[in-house]
Amino acid sequence: MITVTHYLIASVLLFSIGLIGILTRRNVLMILLCIEIMFNAANLMFVAYARGWADVGGQIVVFFIITVAAAEVTVGLAIAILLSRQLHTLNADEVSRLKW
């Protein structure tokens, strides 16, 4: 029988895959993409719990998450374009000014 826990485990696995992607991809845009995967994993978990506790509020949250994710992608891509213009690279390894 498929219980809520199944969905939760699926969500966790998806989240982990997204996490691995963030840590290993070198292209900034791809990193953004993997962030999207993580968002979606969270969405799945919310919806699963909404079903499990018979509370629609979980779906409302997902609604907002989608909105926020869209806004974030917009700004993130704008930043990526700016990055490619200024530093002429989209390689995350070379963008290493966030240090001493």
Partner: protein, 618 residues
């Protein structure tokens, strides 16, 4: 009549006047030579005046002694050290010697050091020395005595090395200090052991002489002290006099100390500081009284020193060195007397020795001042050119040799009498030494003062001759002042047998020296050739210095110091200091890699942190 408060005031003034003089010289007198001299002499004369007043007071009221006044200097719970003044016959006599002979020598220095660039410094350190010596003499407890002990060592170092630009003088000062250091280590162990022994409970332990004496009597009566402890402590405490009074084998510093100016040699290395060891043995005699093994050791060390030093004086060519070995020999006599239990005899000889040895040194200084020459072979005929100086030297020489009627005769005789009762072997050695004493001082006199003149000489100024006359008078009259009586010893009848033997020996020595060096009837060269082996041994001073040098070089420097240097280089510098720096640098280098500037690295670290949190939360 002098009351209690006035007596206390006299005592404290007596002790601190020279210190005040030294401090004032340091503050305002270094550029003003007359002021420095005036302060120093004034300080010591004030002390001498106080001493005289105390002495007169005691003469009128003999039962006023012993007097003591002290303040609690260190008063920590469980550890108390007083600072005080103890006046009894012993300390009063010694104080008279120190301040009296000291004042004479201070005045003499006015003339002797007149041309010296370090004039004010000289007087300042001399005053400091006077204070230190008085601290030793007047102290009523071990810690104060040790403090004075070390201070005189320091003053001695400063004064021996007064002409510090001269390498030999600087080395001699160092040598004196280091040899005394070795001795003082044993001394300090002895003091601390005595303190620890004085009571099983910490707050009741004491350094005070009188209290310790009573305590120790109680403890030994009650059987609370082990049989081996007290002799060991006695030997440890004896280490101090072995160093300070230059007994064999720590005698090596005294001849080298002649590098200092002659007034220094007279005051410190003849009359007072080297006598401090003897004074200590007298002061602490209650400790040694019941320890026959320690007393025997002391006796034999003294006797050996007396004999060996006299042998070494036979082959010396420097006037001051002859006098230095003579001092060593006479100190040996005093220590030997103490070892035989003759406290009064030892102090008596100390007093007369202070008179005639200071006289001899100051006369030698006068000679050096007038001729700028120290070797006896380069001098000669001074009897004609420096009449007064030669007369004083002659008086001193006769007193040293033990010419009848002079002070030295009486005091040495007391010791010989004591020896004849206690140990025939030592009596023989001591008598032989007396003969050698007469011989070597005769040799010095005939070579330097009679015969043909070699150089130019002029007599010394009155400021230098005055103290000489005073000391000469004391050297003559010293036997009639009633010193043993003052110290409380019953004046024994003159032992004609001992006196006759010693007179014979002295006469032999003087005659032999006259024959060899004045009349040249017996050839000195032939004697030397006949006794070639002993002569070379003496010339190399029994190789003691070589032995010490070998020890210092091979064992101390190579082994011990080398090991310590290795520890310092490898372990302390290499591992602890450099190693710590290296480890820190490596750790920093490692940790710096975390800051890659790449966001993904930071995310990874973030993730690890979250994982840790979750794991901990489980």
């Amino acid at each position: 009549m002098v009351d209690e408060g006035a007596v206390q005031l006299l005592g404290w003034t007596l002790l601190f006047a020279p210190l005040a003089a030294a401090v004032l010289i340091l503050l305002i007198g270094l550029r003003r030579k007359p002021l420095a001299a005036g302060l120093a002499i004034g300080g010591l004369l004030i002390s001498f005046g106080c001493t005289l007043l105390l002495f007169l007071h005691v003469l009128r009221q003999p039962d006023a002694l012993p007097m003591e006044c002290s303040i609690a200097w260190i008063a920590v719970p469980g550890f108390t050290v007083p600072f005080g003044i103890l006046i009894d016959q012993l300390s009063l006599l010694m104080t008279l010697v120190v301040t009296g002979v000291g004042s004479a020598i201070f005045i003499y220095s006015l003339g002797y050091m007149a041309e010296d660039p370090g004039y004010s410094r000289f007087f300042g350190v001399l005053s400091l020395f006077a204070f230190s010596m008085l601290t030793i003499v007047l102290s009523n407890n071990w810690v104060q005595l040790f403090m004075g002990w070390e201070l005189v060592g320091c003053s001695s170092y400063l004064l021996i090395g007064h002409w510090y630009a001269k390498p030999s003088a600087a080395d001699a000062g160092k040598k004196a200090f280091m040899v005394n250091r070795v001795a003082d280590f044993g001394f300090m162990l002895g003091i601390l052991s005595l303190w620890a022994l004085s009571s099983p409970s910490m707050p009741e332990r004491t350094f005070h002489f009188h209290t310790l004496q009573l305590r120790l009597a109680q403890l030994t009566a009650g059987g609370a002290v082990s049989a081996a402890a007290l002799p060991l402590i006695g030997l440890l405490i004896f280490c101090g006099p072995v160093g300070k009074s230059a007994q064999f084998p720590l005698h090596v510093w005294l001849p080298d100390a002649m590098e200092g100016p002659t007034p220094v040699s007279a005051l410190i290395h003849a009359a007072t500081m080297v006598a401090a060891g003897v004074y200590l043995l007298c002061r602490a005699f209650w400790l040694f009284e019941a320890l026959p093994s320690v007393l025997t050791t002391i006796m034999w060390v003294g006797g050996a020193t007396a004999f060996l030093a006299a042998c070494l004086a036979l082959v010396e060519n420097d006037l001051k060195r002859i006098l230095a070995y003579s001092t060593l020999s006479q100190l040996g006599y005093m220590v030997m007397a103490l070892g035989m239990g003759g406290v009064a005899a030892g102090m008596y000889h100390l007093t007369t020795h202070a008179f005639f040895k200071a006289l001899l040194f100051l006369s030698a200084g006068s000679v050096i001042h007038g001729t700028h020459e120290q070797e006896i072979w380069k001098l000669g005929g001074l009897w004609r050119s420096m009449r007064w100086t030669s007369l004083c030297f002659l008086i001193g020489a006769l007193a040293l040799a033990g010419f009848p009627g002079l002070s030295g005769f009486f005091s040495k005789d007391e010791i010989l009498v004591l020896a004849s009762h206690r140990s025939p072997a030592l009596y023989g050695i001591a008598t032989l030494t007396a003969g050698m004493t007469a011989f070597y001082i005769g040799r010095a006199w005939f070579t330097a003062f009679t015969g043909k003149a070699h150089g130019h000489a002029h007599e010394s100024p009155p400021v230098m001759l005055g103290p000489l006359f005073l000391l000469a008078a004391l050297s003559i009259a010293g036997g009639y002042l009633g010193i043993p009586h003052f110290l409380g010893e019953h004046q024994a009848e003159l032992d004609w047998g001992v006196a006759a033997i010693s007179l014979a020996v002295v006469a032999t020595g003087l005659t032999l020296s006259w024959l060899m060096y004045s009349r040249k009837l017996v050839s000195a060269r032939q004697v030397v050739q006949a006794l070639a082996l002993p002569h070379s041994l003496l010339q190399r001073r029994f190789y003691v210095d070589e032995l010490y040098a070998w020890y210092v070089e091979q064992i101390q420097q190579k082994l011990i110091a080398g090991f310590c240097a290795w520890v310092e280089r490898v372990i302390i510098i290499g591992i602890a200091v450099n190693g710590t720096a290296f480890a820190t640098r490596q750790a920093g280098r490692f940790v710096r890699r975390l800051q890659t500037g790449q966001v993904q690295t930071y995310v990874l670290v973030f993730l690890l942190g979250v994982v840790c949190f979750l794991a901990l939360g489980r």
